[in-house]
């Protein structure tokens, strides 16, 4: 291959990547989002199980009163380091509707690991009625739904962290209606949710915000660690395969060149 071709090839590749980058990148900044460094980013990214447990406790104690997480089952909690008995205990804390029984009636029973997280409200209307007309969204996929679009976009966790930590007094001249709160990260800056977290003796606001953001990331993307592990294996295999294929190609083509 002549130098010219190599250069041309590289230029084309760069142009191609630039094209992808232009499309995938998102230089539009809507609300302010502070990017953090997260343990789950990078080629070898993973979760810290202790952090996930802390985040789970925050979800259970603070968020679950209004926010459902219906795509997760209690058995999934074994993936963040809880034992089978602890998981059974979490499940048994709630009463779950089951039935109909032989008399044709619905009844309540303690939850089991195979049950999905119990929603705080039976339907959307009840949720709105209990929250001044606002609907607390299901959090199962929130970390993926709030990711910045594109390859260079921020993580959903960055947005969630910002949301938790950017409750502020409204600036001069801005009035917030009763029942709403000013938040710099939220689109439109008015959010119906009161600040859910605050500094406490056990953990600072920042720490709690990080923990819940990571937990929500895990909830949305539980396969992350397995995905990274499998990716490493796949790339290793492909590198070997490609090198072998290249060697064979050169050998086979030797007398043609």
């Amino acid at each position: 291959m002549s130098k010219r071709r190599i250069v041309l090839g590289i230029v084309t590749a760069i142009a191609g990547l630039a094209a992808v980058g232009i499309v995938a990148a998102n230089p539009v900044h809507h609300a302010e989002v502070h990017t953090q460094s997260w343990s789950f980013n990078g080629f070898f990214g993973s979760f810290d199980q202790e952090q996930l447990k802390r985040g789970h406790v925050i979800y259970k104690d603070v968020c679950a009163g209004c926010h459902a997480m219906s795509l997760l089952a209690y058995r999934d909690l074994q993936d963040i380091g809880y034992t089978e008995d602890e998981v059974k205990a979490f499940a048994a804390e709630v009463q779950v509707e089951d039935g109909p029984n032989d008399a044709g009636e619905m009844f309540e029973r303690p939850g089991r690991p195979s049950d999905f997280f119990k929603a705080p409200f039976p339907n959307e209307q009840a949720a709105r009625a209990g929250n001044n007309g606002a609907l607390p969204p299901d959090l199962s996929l929130m970390a993926k739904a709030r990711a910045g679009a594109g390859f260079l976009g921020h993580d959903g966790a960055d947005y969630l962290f910002s949301l938790m930590t950017m409750y502020k007094d409204p600036p001069a001249g801005v009035t917030i209606p009763e029942g709403m709160y000013y938040n710099e990260a939220f689109k439109g800056h008015q959010i119906a949710m009161p600040p859910p977290l605050s500094d406490s003796e056990e953990a600072s606001l920042d720490q709690q915000a990080q923990d819940i953001s990571v937990f929500l990331t895990w909830a949305a993307e539980g396969n992350l660690e397995e995905r990274h592990r499998t990716g490493i294996k796949a790339i290793l295999f492909l590198v070997i395969f490609t090198l072998l294929a290249y060697a064979t190609k050169r050998k086979v083509w030797a007398n043609v060149h």
Binding site: V23, P27, A245
Partner: protein, 467 residues
């Protein structure tokens, strides 16, 4: 070529009664292929590979998916969470679509540059355009299936395009929907069509290859092969080269699947479809963005739809728009410039399709700024009121380039891009056919007669080659 003699008696027995092995041996094993194909020729087999990947992963996913509005979203999440390796199959399928389009776009641009669409391969080219159209339909249908916000609203917007047809437009839309809005009947039929079309694509690909094998592959020099000294058997030369190309490609694919599986998609699609709430920006997947830009660059709804359609239909006529006797862009110095500008133009159009038409692109700071912010900046810089600034800003771009508030409205950029796109096919190519003086094309792929058939000739011929 004499029929090969197979050593295995079972194969011989079958082949005698159904000559499938001899056929494959002729078409894929000993098949004479130009010896000078470069790596741009790998993308056809990569496209075929991706088609198989998409069909296989799609079949397995279809076994776990439920095509009903109340279950679709959750069935996809069940695949991601509970089905063994479900996340891998889903991400392979999702990112595979993007890979498929990347490969096909490169394959198409290879054809545009090297004149692969010229006689006698016009039909081969048209079959390819047909495959591309089917791919676009398939991908659109597939994107609706997860029933996220973008699935729903993308389906609504695109099906609504048909209302642009005069008189019967609304009835057609109702027919497509099976109701008065995109709902369960729509989802069900889109699932069936999404399942069906890949097999239609497979059939057209078979015909595409049949057409290819009628005259064999073209080559980077754009001249016909003259005899066995110009060709080598497909196996082992191109099988092994395709394997190598496949390895490189799979590493690229693996990167997306394992480390950036959602980067090419829209995060909004992780929200369940809500007919009562429209997302702020309805954006199609990246591979549609150039056409979205063309659609939006024309203010009239019907003409916008026609322009979008025309941008693909024009490809069918390419062999007759470009009548230059020289195939390869290598030997067409003026054409080359226009070609690369076209490539750049398509990237610009992709860019314009992504952002709001009223936003401004600031070339000096590489920002995209929405209309309000841009007007405010102009007002600020000039010390005038916001309303006055609205007038000052105008329809095209901001003024006062020196202070950095120069911005091009995205829709204008898209219009410029659209003009060039059509000009390239309808004006530039026909004119070049008449007025361009090409470079001298080599006489043959191998050195003729003297020096044997071993090396690719770079020397120019004494007389100009007429294809």
């Amino acid at each position: 070529m004499a029929a090969p003699v197979f050593k295995n008696p079972v194969i011989r027995w079958i082949d005698h009664r159904l000559p499938i092995f001899s056929y494959l041996h002729h078409e894929a094993y000993e098949y004479p292929t130009p010896k000078n194909l470069n790596y741009w020729w790998n993308f056809g087999s990569l496209a075929g590979f991706m088609l198989i990947v998409m069909i296989v992963t799609g079949l397995i996913l279809a076994m776990q998916y439920t095509p009903h509005v109340d279950y679709a979203f959750n069935s996809v999440e069940r695949i991601m969470r509970d089905v063994n390796w479900g996340w891998l199959l889903r991400y392979l399928h999702m990112n595979g679509a993007s890979m498929f389009f990347i490969v096909v776009y490169i394959h198409i641009f290879r054809g545009l540059y090297f004149g692969s669409y010229k006689a006698p391969r016009e039909l081969l080219w048209q079959l390819g355009v047909l495959i591309y159209l089917l791919m676009m339909a398939t991908a659109f249908l597939g994107y609706v299936l997860p029933w996220g916000q973008m699935s729903f609203w993308g389906a609504t917007v695109i099906t609504n395009l048909f209302s642009a047809i005069p008189v019967i437009g609304d009835d057609i839309v109702t027919l497509l929907w099976g109701g008065f809005s995109v709902d369960n009947p729509t989802l069900n039929r889109m699932f069936v069509l999404h399942f069906l079309l890949p097999f239609v694509i497979l059939a057209v690909v078979v015909v595409h290859i049949m057409a290819l094998h009628r005259f064999g592959s073209s080559n980077p020099l754009g001249i016909d092969t003259k005899g066995p000294q110009d060709t080598i058997p497909f196996h082992p030369y191109y099988t092994v080269k395709d394997m190598f190309g496949l390895g490189i490609f799979m590493m690229f694919y693996a990167f997306w699947v394992f480390w950036a599986p959602n980067a090419l998609g829209d995060p909004v699609n992780y929200e369940l479809a809500n007919p009562l709430s429209t997302p702020e920006h309805i954006v199609p997947e990246w591979y549609y963005l150039p056409f979205y830009a063309i659609l939006r660059s024309i203010p009239d709804k019907l003409i916008g739809v026609l322009a979008m359609g025309a941008s693909i239909i024009v490809l069918f006529f390419l062999p007759w728009l470009d009548r230059s006797p020289v195939r390869a862009g290598t030997y067409r110095p003026v054409f080359k410039w226009f070609f690369w500008i076209l490539v750049f133009d398509c990237v610009i159009l992709m860019f314009c399709g992504k952002y709001a038409p009223e936003a401004y692109w600031m070339p000096f700071t590489f920002e995209i700024v929405d209309a309000d912010t841009f007007t405010a900046r102009v007002a600020d810089l000039r010390g005038i009121a916001h309303d006055q600034a609205l007038n000052a800003v105008g329809e095209m771009w901001g003024v006062n380039a020196a202070s950095g508030d120069f911005g091009i409205k995205i829709v204008r950029l898209g219009q410029l891009g659209t003009i060039y796109y059509f000009a390239y096919f309808l004006i530039v190519l026909p004119l070049l056919s008449i007025f361009e003086t090409p470079r001298q094309v080599p006489l043959s792929i191998s050195k003729p007669v003297l020096g044997g058939g071993k090396s690719v000739a770079h020397a120019t011929a004494k007389s100009m080659e007429k294809a």
